[in-house]
Symmetry: C2
């Protein structure tokens, strides 16, 4: 998409929210030049922050936090108070949609998500349907509340789990290290798996559209478990349903175009196929060489292509600040100098982790990373 055709981030927004002051993230999504490489961190509002843990303790549980507008707003803004990040992301979970379908999501202390009613037989599959969006009202209320609280500081990203990733949890009932139950269903009853994925895709599309209407300025689909699929199965059971979501998403809201990000963890082998998705940005994990990915899907100056987001190993944040700076520079250098011509579009990079930040991360190390990315990426543009 050329710059001139796309409504830009700096287009006037309707008066509901304050005008955006830092549009570097949105510009990079549209493959427009920025003076530094924008960055945000997956799971940036999380347990590594003591202030997050304090709010969560007040809320009593993860879902108590996510379903309360004031708390969700508070924790979403916490990392922005500490670090000059270039985007905020809604505090929520990738599994809110199946929860709204009635599967009963909970998070036991120290464990991952768990569904009280996993989907494992034909009757359970048949009973699935796109949930009443009123059951997700707490998410849309949080989006609007966060937009107001941000006062135009940085854009707000909305998100959802992908149809496949949600299905993994819906069938397994919790995290898994072998995906035996969901893959057994997939290989033995592909018809049932396709039905689950159709419902999920339509529900995710409606959910993301409602987030956009509530104020999300970009949306991201987390395909956290796409990478566990075999070649062939990935295309049929993950990619096809991500595409089904994208086909239903609103392109713009109140005159402003809404960029769409797709992140498949472990999806580097399918990058050429993901380049065909109708989205603006592809998220990459740390196994991917950014220079090679740029050559594959980043596009030429003035031509079409995907912006790339990623991809430092979150474990780098356990090293000392000077080593963090060195590794951040290595990631930025592997992408190379981003597009700098303000008059056209070209290859751009949004810095991020290759996966969510660890709860054990020292918060001051995050400050070192943010500083290193901003300063090194400015230097890169002056070469």
């Amino acid at each position: 998409m050329s710059t001139s055709a796309a409504p830009t981030a700096s287009a006037p927004t309707a008066g509901r929210f304050a005008p955006l002051r830092n549009d570097s993230f949105l510009r990079a999504c549209w493959r427009q030049a920025t003076d530094h490489t924008p960055l945000w961190l997956m799971r940036q509002a999380g347990r590594y922050l003591p202030e997050y843990c304090a709010t969560r303790a007040r809320a009593g549980s993860f879902m108590g936090l996510a379903t309360n507008t004031a708390y969700a707003t508070e924790v979403t803004l916490q990392p922005l108070e500490r670090y000059p990040l270039d985007a905020a992301i809604l505090f929520s979970d990738i599994l809110t949609v199946p929860d709204a379908m009635g599967l009963g999501l909970s998070f036991a202390q120290g464990e991952g998500p768990r569904f009280a009613s996993p989907v494992r037989d034909e009757a359970a599959v048949a009973a699935l349907q796109v949930p009443d969006l009123d059951r997700l009202r707490y998410v849309f209320d949080a989006v609007t509340s966060i937009r107001h609280a941000l006062q135009g500081r940085v854009p707000l990203i909305g998100f959802s789990g992908s149809p496949w990733t949600q299905a993994c949890y819906m069938v397994e009932g919790k995290g898994s290290d072998d995906y035996r139950l969901v893959k057994t269903l997939m290989y033995s009853r592909p018809d049932l798996m396709h039905r689950i994925l159709q419902v999920n895709a339509d529900a995710v599309a409606a959910y993301l559209n409602a987030q956009i209407e509530a104020g999300a300025q970009a949306v991201m689909i987390f395909d956290s478990w796409g990478g566990v699929l075999a070649d062939g199965a990935f295309q049929a059971f993950s990619l096809a349903y991500t595409a089904r979501v994208l086909a239903q998403l609103k392109r713009e809201h109140e005159g402003v175009a809404i960029p769409r990000i797709v992140f498949t963890k472990g999806g580097g082998l399918w990058l050429d196929e993901m380049a065909g998705l109708d989205c603006e940005v592809l998220g990459l994990d740390w196994t991917v060489n950014l220079g090679r990915a740029r050559a594959q899907v980043g596009g030429a100056v003035g031509g079409p292509g995907k912006a790339l987001q990623g991809n430092i190993d979150p474990n780098v944040l356990f090293a000392a600040p000077e080593q963090i700076a060195r590794e951040a520079a290595r990631v930025l250098d592997s992408f190379g100098t981003p597009h700098t011509d303000p008059l056209t579009s070209g290859p751009t990079h949004i810095f991020n982790l290759g996966h969510g930040i660890s709860q054990y991360t020292p918060p001051e190390h995050v400050a070192a990373l943010v500083e290193a990315v901003h300063s090194h990426s400015r230097r890169l543009r002056q070469r």
Copy 2:
């Protein structure tokens, strides 16, 4: 390596063991034509077999099983009694070498491996050294015993964990889902990590050479955790040390060449770089498209290249037999018709799972897989 230059599997062996009756696996390793696609299954001697569980119960523990020559021989042969597999693999573990270094390996019931003395500080790293191979005598005794028991039915594969994969367990002390400790060491003290990997590589090389001398007819390096590394780190901390092992391996024993297999789970993105390894076969997990891998590294007829091993998702074995047959055919077809000219070498495929077989696999489903691979791969050659 051209066929004429390589001592072949059918070369006369020294009189110690019975002559080999099924050399399809070794021929495929050397990129020589076979009348069917040979197959074996990672972890084929394992908990999915009731007879294995019975022997393990008699042995009292996993290490009790692995360290007893008679038991190790018995369980290695069990899957061959049930299925017409084309290779046997030593029953052992990828972590015997660090155990022999004195780290104290154990397997709690229902859990993975655990080291009593993980390697986490400078002193522990400095104390590491290549172990006295006498402490691994039980492995070499098992290899010789299995060779005798096989009576030339199929070749025997010896193996080891890769330097990096062993290091993961040595530092973490057990399996991990984030590799935080080992990556913290790697990013903050790369000097210590390189020292661990040097010791591991030299130990693994000596260990595999002793297996070859004891009777192993092929050797495989399992880099089970190479795929968790970032691009750049994989090359420096995994691939370089796999190469260091390979450089030290015996090329032949008693006039017979010994093929070498390298399997990096999650390594599909680095296939071009792995093509540069001094080994004959590359193992692939299920995320890799075999046709694309063949084009990348399989080589041309008469030219150099790697044989490919893999790569069906073990979870396919939970579907019904007819679905297993369909998925097996899909994997064979994705590789395409293998090389068939007996006068020269060319692209070959060794069928396997993309990772170890699940303990929950119904044994009769394995029979369906073996039958499907043998029959469909014969049909493929007649097209």
